[in-house]
């Protein structure tokens, strides 16, 4: 009997173990950029390969995040690219104001329930106005081992004329999606090999297991007591943005004081205000709110960086400047991603019952005067602790004490901060004297919304218990582009002559490209990941006269 029970238990454990294992696939990434150095204001094309062991096609068709950071991992810009058949590609616009230095491009997945991966590559950016950083540093990157599976690039000759059409035969025993590019020899020589690494930005015990891959900014953190440091359970955390509309989200903390809010469809850098309230919507002043780092990278120490002086092809800089000056289009879009980019408005306030514009009245010196003269439905009275309190009059004449006060869309828990603001700053006062519901929380005493002329109330305002954070992420969807010959008899100054990040070797046995006006040595590269999970690469050198 006991043998039977034990064998059942063994089978059960084995099944659970197997199913648990199937939930944790791995997605290492390999990142390639079209060149190794760019001019500020240029576009960097990138190609990403994901593989999970042997098969590249089984990676989920979802998103991969690509960031441009400085050498110390500080975020500059980024995009989000769609993964299809284990591949993704796109374009990063390098800001015009970057100083001459090395920069990192990092790509990472953010899938639920699995380990997530990161890979980093470095590029050198030359400021086109000659602005240099104090020291030019680059980090020591780990390199990927390239194990060639004997792909063969076939070309008829090695000597070409400028603007000549070139046919490249591709012979690869493995049917995969690969990258073919033609770049200048100097660029190719300067290039680091692509690298890959691993990072686990989130763990399953943080409660994200029920979330699908998200499209927006994920704000996660904890609320603790500012004195004892103990986590605060069951607190309502309001996350808002300073704006001319109410954009507010909330979460309720768990026993560890943790909260997690997804700012749906938000992209880029956002400044958010976070404040905690009790279940009765009373502000919790003695709290400490900390945000978890969305992206667990470490700032490299000095020993991990090396000072280098890269070779800059000065001609290339001049050509890029000419291209910019004559607005020569060097790229053409090949696919447009139509995912939404809308910012979210939450109708927390509803249709205001009363709305007053201060400019319709005489100049009033402070908020007390505003309430006395032009907003009779708002009253200021002395509270139990001797401090002034805000009160709202309902349609039936009842007094609603301590309504939620929003200033430029952000909850203001210390009313004293508003008292000295007159009509020179306050533009509009809206009130909602009915209870309002927002998801599972309610504002039973109504809402007062104050809007300033310049939406700048919070620039110089510090309120205990209200924390301000800059969150970054997750970037606009990318429009994929490829280098294109210039039109209208303008000089063709493409720095990357050919870039095709999705050559399917099963269907395509050759590709063709037109060379640019550039002369010199060029390299044709054929790069990809085979079905066996191994990286292959082949290259041929050509001369253009």
């Amino acid at each position: 009997m006991i043998t039977r029970v034990l064998s059942i238990l063994f089978l059960l454990t084995a099944t659970i173990g197997a199913s648990a294992q199937s939930l944790v696939p791995t997605y290492p990434i390999v990142l390639k950029t079209d060149r190794s150095s760019y001019i500020s204001g240029d576009n960097a094309l990138y190609s990403l390969f994901l593989y999970n062991g042997l098969v590249t096609d089984s990676t989920p068709g979802t998103d991969i995040y690509v960031d441009l950071t400085d050498i110390k991992n500080r975020w500059i810009t980024g995009t989000v690219a769609k993964v299809e058949n284990g591949r993704a590609s796109g374009m990063l616009e390098i800001p015009d104001n970057l100083v001459t230095a090395y920069y990192k491009i990092r790509a990472y997945t953010n899938y639920p329930n699995v380990d997530n991966y990161l890979c980093t590559s470095e590029i050198f950016v030359v400021n086109r106005f000659g602005v240099e950083s104090e020291t030019v540093m680059r980090s020591h990157l780990s390199k990927v081992e390239i194990e060639s599976t004997n792909p063969i690039i076939g070309i008829e000759k090695t000597e070409f004329r400028a603007k000549e059409k070139i046919n490249i035969a591709l012979d690869c025993p493995d049917s995969v999606s690969a990258l073919v590019r033609i770049v200048g020899k100097k660029q190719w020589d300067n290039e680091l090999e692509p690298s890959f690494g691993k990072v686990v930005p989130y763990t399953q015990n943080e409660g994200f297991t029920s979330l699908t891959p998200y499209d927006g900014i994920l704000v996660t953190g904890t609320v603790t007591d500012s004195v004892s440091g103990a986590p605060i359970d069951n607190a309502i955390v309001l996350i808002s943005l300073q704006d001319s509309i109410v954009r507010m989200m909330y979460d309720v903390t768990d026993s560890l004081g943790s909260f997690c809010v997804l700012l749906h469809n938000y992209y880029g850098r956002q400044e958010v205000f976070v404040s905690a309230f009790s279940r009765l919507m009373e502000p919790l002043h003695n709290t400490r709110i900390t945000l978890r780092d969305q992206f667990k990278y470490t700032i490299p120490n000095q020993a991990e960086l090396e000072t280098v002086l890269p070779e800059i092809d000065s001609m290339e800089l001049n050509k890029a400047l000419i291209a910019k000056a004559f607005e020569i289009q060097q790229f053409e879009p090949i696919g447009i991603d139509n995912r939404p980019e809308a910012l979210v408005e939450h109708f927390v306030l509803g249709e205001p019952r009363q709305s007053v514009l201060t400019e319709d009245f005489v100049e009033l010196n402070d908020f007390r005067e505003i309430t006395r003269e032009i907003t009779p439905f708002i009253r200021i009275r002395k509270g139990k602790n001797g401090q002034p309190e805000l009160r709202l009059v309902s349609d039936k004449g009842n007094i609603m004490a301590n309504p939620l006060l929003l200033v430029d869309g952000v909850p203001l828990t210390d009313f004293n901060q508003l008292l000295d603001k007159g009509s020179a700053m306050v533009k509009q006062v809206d009130t909602q004297n009915k209870p309002r519901y927002f998801g599972n929380i309610s504002f039973a005493n109504g809402i007062v919304a104050v809007w300033t002329h310049k939406i700048n109330f919070w620039e110089n305002c510090q309120v205990p218990g209200t924390y301000r954070f800059v969150v970054q992420g997750f970037q606009p969807p990318v429009t994929e582009s490829v280098p294109a010959p210039s039109k209208d008899r303008l000089p063709d100054l493409r720095q990357t002559v050919y870039w095709n990040p999705s050559v399917s070797t099963a269907e395509q046995k050759s590709v063709s490209a037109t060379l640019s006006d550039e002369t010199g040595e060029f390299v044709i590269e054929f790069f990809g990941i085979g079905r066996n999970g191994k990286i292959f690469s082949d290259f041929k050198q050509i001369n253009v006269r």
Partner: protein, 233 residues
């Protein structure tokens, strides 16, 4: 031996309970939603009948303008005031959802499980300035939409025992919507043919082959699919 088996089974049961508990905890985050609205106030005590679509609470989903979708909600559509009402069992509250926050909502019929989609439509010819909810029969360049309406028909003699002053009368009407103009769907075939003189023969044949009845939603949908196709040609 018996004790050993009991012990092992208890351990297994405890382990499964913990696993189930952990799953429940993980799904806690899905309970967070951002539906906004104001409290619903019961207003129809003096009127006989109910002003709601299909009589009462139905399961459904709401898609907000911000893109968030919430499924498995207890909803009812007030055809008299044109309000979508939501029962939040977590807070034990009944809420009128802000119309300007809704992109669309669906209601699942109790009997056949059919799902009907509603969208708020804003048009200057409507008496509701914020727009009105219409059920979507066909979504195309020329859409077909349906209005559910409840009106109060006053009793000539007030029933003093039950203190009812009138009764709710429900009616449906179909419209076409091209994004700008709202037009009634003709009640008769000949009226429709007059609207499309250039496709008269094609439509006549279509009527004949498909036995189109202008009072049936499915038939009207099929008919306007054909009209959209003919217009595009």
């Amino acid at each position: 031996m018996k004790h050993a088996i009991k012990y092992i089974l208890t351990v297994v049961c405890v382990a499964l309970t913990i696993a189930a508990g952990a799953q429940g905890k993980a799904s806690k985050k899905t309970a967070i939603q951002h539906i906004t609205g104001e409290p619903f106030v019961y207003y129809y005590a003096t009127v006989e009948g109910l002003p709601f679509y299909m009589g009462g609470w139905l399961m459904g989903s709401v898609t907000m303008k911000s893109g968030e979708t919430y499924d498995g909600l207890q909803l009812r559509y007030d055809c008299f005031k044109d309000d979508l009402i939501y029962q939040n069992s977590l807070t034990n509250s009944v809420i009128i959802i802000d119309k300007n926050s809704i992109s669309q909502f669906t209601l699942t019929h109790l009997g056949d499980g059919r799902i009907e989609t509603f969208k708020p439509i804003v048009n200057k010819n409507l008496k509701e300035q914020n727009g009105r909810y219409f059920a979507i029969i066909l979504e195309d360049s020329l859409s077909v939409i349906k209005k559910y309406e409840a009106t109060e028909e006053q009793y000539s003699n007030v029933n003093m025992t039950e203190k009812k002053t009138g009764i709710f009368a429900h009616k449906e009407s179909r419209y076409t919507w091209d994004g700008n103009e709202l037009k009634s769907v003709p009640r008769f075939r000949r009226m429709l043919l007059r609207q499309y003189p250039q496709h008269k023969e094609d439509l006549r044949k279509f009527f004949f082959h498909n036995h189109i009845r202008m009072k049936n939603d499915d038939d009207v949908k099929l008919l306007y699919q054909e009209i959209n196709r003919l217009v595009r040609k």
